[in-house]
Symmetry: D2
Subunit: 372 residues, 4 copies
């Protein structure tokens, strides 16, 4: 990717998983060229777990929407645009799509300051028994590096968020593996989502140099090994990983900046408050209106503290057989973050294995630059 890229980002609300009327309106208004869309990060209103068909429903709607613009079939869109749908809008969270469009910038537009850039890459498809193991870690690390090149980022320090969409094990995949004599990392479909996210996150951290090496035994076992910038979502609708790198580079013509922090636990809103003050010069309380005005989105991971405690007090998320812990965690962290920025259409994704410290998670913020 040449340095003179220009990235546009739109946060578009929707009335249901397949509602793209807001996107169509942007296209109709001439604000968005659908041919320049390279990635979509959606929050859809399903349960975010194994049988969340709203993710597939939304992705399918995007395929049908983009196909005529890209002059390909609906099925082929998946190979052209990174469609990452994260299920679960518990609590106050509001379903929406974050749409990244990338196009060439005129030389005059490029700035010497660091500005938002985006890159995308895919791994190969994985065999069921590779999920949650080193094969997935290593392939993800390679894809992150490819996506950095695609974004025009040279220094890993300029990467602020890496979104990975990764597969899960369905009952059918587990059966297939068993019949071929291979042992999957788990036979439980829900549990497999955690393995796939964890291995993918370790791949991100490896690529960004957040740690030097990963041992297979560390996956889902060594909580001290984590990426501060990885966000991984598992979905039933794909067989390989899709990687989106969000960062900054000088020479971009984008009118956005991005920064990141890490919530140390599920109620650590103060880390986000500090980031807003220190990186964007905005105080969440005093500048509440400016924050609401300029915020494009927060991108965050949430999970129930695996030790069963938040600040020494017991939580009940992991013992709840009626509501999965990922749903609890999104609802709680969604409330925390929404109270900081005054907005509920946030990308809060569940299951933060090796994504931030145990019980915490990475948070990135994309803001528009006021002078634009």
């Amino acid at each position: 990717m040449s340095a003179a890229q220009k990235v546009d980002v739109f946060r578009v609300p929707c009335d249901g998983p397949a509602d793209l009327s807001g996107v169509q309106a942007l296209v109709d208004a001439g604000r968005l060229d659908p041919r320049q869309i390279i990635a979509v990060m959606g929050k859809t209103e399903g349960n975010g777990c194994v049988n969340d068909h709203t993710r597939d429903f939304a992705a399918t709607a995007w395929c049908h929407f983009l196909a005529p613009h890209l002059d390909c079939t609906a099925a082929q869109v998946h190979g052209r645009v990174a469609l990452v749908m994260s299920g679960g809008t518990e609590g106050v969270l509001s379903p929406h799509f974050t749409v990244f469009a990338r196009g060439p910038a005129g030389a005059a537009e490029a700035t010497h300051e660091k500005r938002l850039v985006v890159g995308v890459a895919h791994t190969r498809d994985f065999a069921p028994e590779e999920l949650g193991r080193m094969a997935q870690v290593e392939a993800t690390a390679e894809a992150v590096k490819a996506a950095m090149r695609d974004a025009g980022i040279e220094d890993a320090a300029d990467v602020h968020f890496v979104q990975v969409k990764c597969p899960l094990l369905t009952s059918a995949k587990v059966r297939a593996a068993q019949q071929s004599g291979a042992a999957t990392v788990s036979r439980d479909t829900y549990e497999s989502m955690g393995w796939s996210r964890g291995a993918s996150a370790l791949g991100v951290g490896l690529a960004l140099g957040e740690f030097a090496a990963v041992d297979e035994a560390a996956i889902l076992h060594d909580g001290t090994l984590y990426s501060a910038r990885a966000s991984c979502s598992a979905g039933i609708e794909l067989d390989g990983n899709v990687v989106i790198v969000l960062g900054e580079a000088a020479g971009s013509a984008s009118r956005f900046r991005i920064a990141h922090t890490v919530m140390q636990d599920a109620i650590d809103g103060n880390s986000v408050r500090r980031m807003l003050r220190e990186r964007f010069g905005l105080d969440p309380e005093a500048d509440a209106d400016l924050v609401a005005d300029r915020l494009v989105n927060l991108l965050a991971k949430a999970e129930a503290s695996p030790g069963g405690l938040v600040r020494e007090a017991r939580h009940t998320m992991l013992n709840d057989s009626d509501i999965h812990s990922t749903r609890h965690a999104r609802a709680a962290v969604g409330g925390v973050l929404a109270s900081v920025v005054g907005s509920t259409a946030l990308y809060v994704s569940g299951g933060a294995e090796h994504q931030g410290p145990p019980g915490g998670g990475p948070v990135a913020a994309i803001f528009a630059i006021p002078s634009f």
Copy 2:
């Protein structure tokens, strides 16, 4: 109640609905005289809806615990101590009991400053068809006034929180009413909880002079009519309302203060931040350690905005047939409040009909006075 009352408040964690080992430890340490306990507000880990048996389980455990101290049967304890169990510890919320004990104070102990006082009263039992109607509104208003007298509060402005426990309609009660020719306000057990809470809250507001009159047609219909200090929980285990008034009076010997505010919507943490600064002189960020040290508990109501929007963005809580909206709301608001005070064992109760503005809710804070 004579003015020279001394109120102690303890927030006690538990390992399950019936775990009173923490309470026993306070008794064993001589810090709590079980005969002085007049009210318990528990957060138990059930679903907080119709079939939440953890409330009854916890209340029963309290009855068996207190009976020998009160020299009565377990069943008789209900008539002696106000046991209010609110189900639902979604998200980060941590199950616990807030125990109020009241005893006489020595003359030397009493202070001229306003300090925490507590009062309790009961209504008569209601017929199924009275729930959610004026009969419940009016009986509750009378009970609030009785509880104020019991607390030694003369000015309604000194009341900061009124906790009501009220009945719901079970299938059996609906059938009984139908057989007797009476029409209940709803035949849906879950929905009846809202009617009972709403009518009770209007009774509180009436007693406190927050509005001059209530019309039966306003119940659950006129969202502009609300109390800023009512908190109502419906439970399967009782047939009348129990009312606990929390406020302040001069001449009390308590070492606690109480204040209240209103969250305007589910993410309005800023109102709580302001209350901490203005009423207790503590900044949630700068004084985080002091806040955590001195906080006894936040008492709050949460609900899904009935209009389907939070700050103009759609939420999905009211259309979710897998998780009731009260559960979503507790998880979200629990996250918001925990991020303000750095503690998760908070009393966040769901279903805020006429308790605060639509989508928002009252929040009271009990803090220990540092000089003690």
Copy 3:
């Protein structure tokens, strides 16, 4: 419709809400002409309640599948084919589509015996405040008569099943009605599904002469008023009712027969056993293989007994705030019916207001005729 119609019925399993590979295989094999499809009754694997997006996902997949065959847009397919998706495959139930195709029969093919015929009709769109009221009852009754004519059925006794798909109230519709000054029958989205189903079922019974008149006050209140042949499903994806009449007529060239019975309660498998013996000459135990061979599908309604009892014993379905009663009922009745016919891909639909007696429901069976 001329009498010489020929109806084909296929029960097609699917791997997910949008999986039409089985249908494509029938088309590829020359067994099904997609242009002749007039109705599809699907069981999809969502929760069957308000936020079940699998119904819309499946219907959308059908639209994209049929559009090129019908030479119209995907959106226009809804006006050409009756797509009825019923959510919820709890317990052993298996997701599938029942596809009805209708074409002209050669004169030589027509038989003088009664054979399966199908007819379809639509009502106009309803205003939110018309749902669950007489407007919906009456419009449905008219549509049933229109569908009978379309099927070539003259005698209402020859109608064995009437499937209605009807709208529900979303939060948005309730708000819209309120803003226009109109009062909807309920403000609860889940509850509105029952009102819409109930009013539609009464419309069916009225059209079939099962009772002479309906009073608006009877809707959801008078359980003695019911149709033995109505099956109504509410869905978020439409604004009017779609009606499919299944019955028999002489002169049809179909190779199927249909019959119906009524389960008196949720465990009344014996009524279905008797129907198999008396109407199809098959004993469920002795002829188990023949039953499995010839069965096309059972079409049934299920509900939790509104009185809270099954054969004098208490059930807990109506007090369960974790799982909606319709889900419980489908799981239980699905088990009962599957144990009778030895097959789990059955059309068991929840919410049987005025569809069979309280707690029971209509069951129709479509069997292939062995001589064909």
Copy 4:
């Protein structure tokens, strides 16, 4: 136990987990001597999974009820009476208790025919890391043999049902094991229930000679290894296994008989129909009234077929992240069995690892002898 035992069995409905008014009525009527109660098998109305507190609530109520009769503390009752509470009354299932009382019989009462006998035994408490492993298998096998001796059964062929209540891993137990350097079989609390049930069932089969040996690697992996008479429920409220053996012996003075069969899959009602005809001489359809009259209870296990199929058709129970598969399975099998015997207060328990073939499960029937 001398051969001249007399066993009484009562199936008692309840209005809630702690409602023992029906039991009290039996005592008041002189029909049940509470001092003779040796075992209670309850179906309570919780979710039957990790956070089902209704089991503990019911057991606690039984402890408080029995303590004065047994002249011990409530806590000591657990060591005196086998209290097995199985959560989950999905679908039509009705909450109830099956109460076994055993007393000495006069010589004249004893019969030479085989009649119902009951025996009880306990294992030692298990360390967290022993659950789901050979230690639990072997200790259970020993306890089964001890319970057979207690029941006066010499031939394993006379054992028709073995109920085991076994522990599960809570988050706290997993943490404790990790801190002591021991690895538990799973870190997932819900999954641990399956491991504990599976190991216990293999212990039963070993004791009854249903297979000659068990290898630790077979636990939860070799579905061909199963007991046709084991029923295991996991609960949070105990640390060792409790074993209840139900069988027949000559010389008993009981007025009941017991038999068992195996459902080959979740819809195999026909096996139960055959058992009723062959073992009790009752046809489920023709003798429906006699069946309802004489039935004491069916005791059955249910599970979602681990292969994802029932009779070659896909089920969705294992991919459902909203409702656990054990809940689906109880609802479906409860419907199947209730339709056979015309009664819904049945003991259908979820999670049938190594209890019957994969997807199927053991079913025992206790019937009163008409001549009594």
